[in-house]
């Protein structure tokens, strides 16, 4: 449960009055808010209006938030709703109507933001893992991701390291990213989801429910 370790803890701290935790939540979810707004191709000023409303709603929602894991979905839904309001040009809706509500899917695939939630979760985990690396290793990865690609000789020159060490260090960095708890949690969540889906399907077919896969544990 990645979200209990990170988002859940941030929510609890913010609720207790920790401003740093609130700032971290804002940073954590800004890419998701942006992604939803981009789907609605909002102008920059509209995006900021939507964002403002979402943050206010989140602040008011903080105290009655029970499941930290539901937060990304809640953020996306709230953002989507605010976007729809901007797009439809209606104003003047009361903030209170937004708070704590979950949306019923409208059936329009263009309005479904679930994929954005999944992507944002994955990307947030990767960023968290990346930030846990040493500055030197972060720098190496950034140079390896440079566009256009840089030759190893150039990377070695910039970092003052031997060309021969780049490949092995890159491998170690990648293993560390993979082994990071936030990234591992993605794998575990997916395994659980798949198991649950399968179980439901089998139950629906009237088949005997299989014992739940234990998933991969660290």
């Amino acid at each position: 449960m990645a979200d209990d370790g990170t988002v859940g803890a941030l929510v609890r701290r913010a609720r207790a009055g920790d401003q740093e935790a609130w700032n971290a939540l804002v940073e954590r979810f800004s890419p998701l808010v942006t992604a939803v707004c981009r789907r609605f191709t909002l102008a920059e000023t509209d995006l900021l209006d939507v964002g403002q409303s979402v943050w206010l709603a989140l602040l008011e929602h903080l105290d009655d938030l029970r499941e930290a894991q539901a937060l990304p979905g809640w953020i996306a839904t709230t953002t989507r709703r605010e976007c729809l309001q901007v797009v439809s040009g209606r104003g003047g809706r009361q903030r209170s109507e937004l708070v704590g509500e979950f949306d019923v899917p409208s059936g329009d695939p263009a309005d479904d933001v679930t994929d954005l939630v999944v992507t944002a979760d994955r990307q947030a985990a990767l960023r968290e893992a990346f930030r846990s690396l040493s500055p030197q290793h972060q720098q190496l990865l950034l140079l390896l991701l440079h566009e256009p690609p840089l030759p190893y000789v150039e990377i070695g020159r910039r970092l003052g390291i031997a060309v021969g060490s780049i490949g092995p260090t890159r491998g170690r960095c990648i293993e560390r990213l993979r082994a990071h708890p936030a990234v591992r949690a993605l794998t575990e969540q997916r395994t659980e989801q798949r198991t649950e889906q399968r179980t439901e399907q089998e139950a629906a077919r009237g088949a005997r429910t299989t014992t739940r896969e234990t998933g991969r544990h660290r």
């Binding site: 804002v26 940073e27 890419p31 602040l59 104003g91 003047g92 009361q94 990307q123």
Partner: protein, 154 residues
């Protein structure tokens, strides 16, 4: 696709997308989010909208063929201890705190501006001109009850 299935190349591509997504976030969005913290009012009761004449009018219009809605808009925000009634006139926002009593009141705008409101002995107040952008009103009574309305967007 889970991280376990990713090749090294895929993992790096995912990381690149993740870092890019963060770079594409407008800085002002993050700043606005952090600024919102000042609105946290742990000890205040939230007064929710319980009546809005505009909604009433809309409902009536669904029934009536001709609308005669020249009337003023009125709104009621209620919390457990206090009710704030508002009336929107062309040039001012009129308010009444119920039960009638004096209180310390403030109007807060989203950009962080806070404007004190004069409340008379029987809980009556006037805000001029009518705020154009979303705001909320907070009230503290003599016996320490603190109430803040939901965001109001007229």
């Amino acid at each position: 696709m889970t991280p376990d299935d990713w090749t090294e190349e895929e993992l790096l591509a995912e990381l690149q997308a993740a870092l890019r997504a963060e770079q594409e976030v407008p800085g002002a969005l993050v700043d606005a989010g952090k600024a919102v913290w000042t609105w946290r009012s742990v000890d205040a009761e939230l007064a929710a909208l319980t009546y809005d004449s505009a909604l009433e009018t809309m409902t009536e219009q669904l029934v009536a063929t001709r609308s005669e809605s020249a009337s003023l808009r009125s709104l009621t925000y209620a919390s457990h201890n206090l009710t704030i009634e508002l009336e929107v006139t062309p040039d001012a926002l009129l308010g009444q705190i119920q039960p009638a009593q004096s209180a310390r009141a403030e109007l807060a705008a989203r950009d962080g501006a806070v404007i004190p409101i004069q409340v008379d002995d029987v809980g009556w107040f006037t805000v001029r001109p009518v705020p154009r952008s979303p705001f909320r009103i907070s009230c503290t009574t003599a016996d320490g009850v603190r109430v803040v309305t939901a965001w109001i967007d007229l």
